[in-house]
Subunit: 324 residues, 2 copies
């Protein structure tokens, strides 16, 4: 895949950026994440160089229907982690497949997250890969890889919606938090979206509203039907605007982290995640190969041979594909 | 792709079947089509051996909403072709992706097509590839290839429904017939299903019912909006149960065939069809490669190296893929 490799000069530039980023320069982190977001040879180089430098970051995925208050909750959780717990640094990746903004949306992030950006220990970034099929699924692990290599011990991955790709991204985190709201049927909707299966921790946010108790008991009932596997997801009630319950949420997330380490489930998840990413890269490379094999002079020549019945289509396909 | 090749003995058996089929033995044709339908190495061998023997069959695709009377119309068209025109032999492939019956559904076909099966000049076969993703799209060109190699000058491909795969199959025929019924909105529905674009000939079947004239004029109006490309699809009214209009339909199909030959459009379509099939085979081979690369001892070994950060996922993917 010669055309897939960045030039030597570009590789050196990326290596230098990585050094700067590890030295704490935020602009270098932002540049690296933009390269990852854009995909292609540069993204691959960033991933290759960052990979050996990481391996210790703990990832927390946060998902839920739009409007459930995930952003405010993530905000409150970051403040808690930095002020009430001893966490030195923390990164947030906000995944938004539908966003018309790419990494450049830093201003939007600053506005959204408010006071957090004044805290040098918190790094916030939104990710969007416009019109790039499967782009987010491939880009997110590498964005986490960069933040891991740079030295963030915790990376929070927050999705804007609950689309299939977003759910998959969150499901591949170490700990997966599903945010619900009070109200009839929210738990049932979450169940339909496949969120009940992936949740390690449930949050009923906006718990000062009517129906919160019922929603908590809906979730508990669904959990009663779920087979026991050594971890029963706790259901935490929060009011993110007043930060009520946010400490309990942080404790529940940390309890799950300890469970992952003790039970070996963490290792199993890392193994599964690595396999999924590897399969994704193999599939993407083969799809790229298929696309490039399906046009051009070699393809046209072989097609004419098939049309003239001098070659059958399978032998023709084999000749295009080369040896397995 | 060593595991994709049938054994030498099996290749000899298939070559012998092909000889028998070309000698006129119907049971041999049926066996070959069953092999094609099932997919895998045997289907590939059938296609490879049949490919150089054909190249002259003219294909007519017939599609339309379920219940539009396509089967009865095909039936009437076959009778007309055999008795009123000079066509010596004719084959019908009825494509039914949802059918619980596979090639064995000959009894069903005999019942369905009634008197046609008493005519030795007509060969009828239904095709279904259960649970075989993309199976029909790959199997249909090879089923046509077999009938072509066996010596049928005309192959009619009839679909049961108007699903995406079925429309694509019919669209790749030399001449594409779209069957509508009288009634408000049928032409509009057909337009939505993408049928207006692929039609070379329109049929308003059950034309003895109310609204037939309006449907014909709906279609004509839509055709007025279509850019001229040297062929304006005729709109033929038929009553297939009484065979009224079936002669005109046959003439319209034959007129399109002459247009294809004169204008070079026929050659252009064959070229496009060959390219599409070739791309489909390349994609299927690569998907098979991706699936086999995504598990097994080699994959597990490489995944552990990635997990241990001794290998990055892209280098790992490259080592699984081998040289391009």
């Amino acid at each position: 895949m010669g055309d897939d490799a960045a030039s030597a000069a570009q590789q050196q530039r990326i290596a230098a950026l990585l050094d700067e980023a590890r030295g704490g320069r935020r602009a270098a982190i932002a540049r690296l994440l933009s390269l990852v977001e854009r995909g292609g040879p540069d993204a691959r180089t960033v991933g290759r160089l960052a990979h050996p430098l990481g391996g210790t970051a703990y990832t927390v995925g946060i998902t839920g229907a739009p409007g459930s208050g995930k952003s405010t909750l993530t905000n409150a959780l970051c403040t808690h982690a930095r002020t009430e717990s001893d966490l030195e640094r923390l990164a947030v990746l906000a995944i938004d497949p539908s966003s018309p903004f790419s990494g450049g949306a830093i201003l939007g992030d600053r506005i959204r997250m408010g006071d957090q950006t004044l805290d040098e220990g918190i790094y916030i970034r939104s990710m969007a890969t416009r019109g790039h099929l499967g782009g987010l699924a491939l880009a997110t692990p590498s964005a986490i890889r960069v933040l891991d290599a740079v030295g963030f011990p915790v990376v929070v991955v927050e999705t804007v919606g609950v689309g299939q790709v977003e759910v998959e991204i969150v499901a591949s985190a170490d700990t997966c938090v599903v945010v619900l709201n009070p109200g009839w049927g929210d738990a049932i909707q979450a169940n339909k979206a496949g969120l009940m299966e992936i949740a390690d921790v449930f949050v009923v946010n906006k718990a000062d509203r009517a129906g919160a108790t019922e929603t908590v008991s809906d979730v508990e009932q669904m959990l009663n039907l779920r087979p026991e596997d050594g971890w029963r997801p706790p259901v935490v009630s929060t009011v993110s605007t007043s930060a009520a319950g946010v400490g309990e949420l942080w404790d529940a997330i940390w309890a799950h982290r300890r469970h992952l380490e003790r039970s070996g489930e963490g290792e199993r998840r890392r193994r599964g995640r690595t396999a999924t990413e590897l399969r994704g890269i193999v599939a993407a490379q083969l799809a790229q190969r298929a696309a490039s094999l399906g046009s051009g002079p070699a393809f046209d020549a072989v097609r004419e041979e098939v049309l003239a019945r001098r070659l059958d289509p399978w032998t023709a396909a084999d000749s295009l594909l080369g040896p397995a």
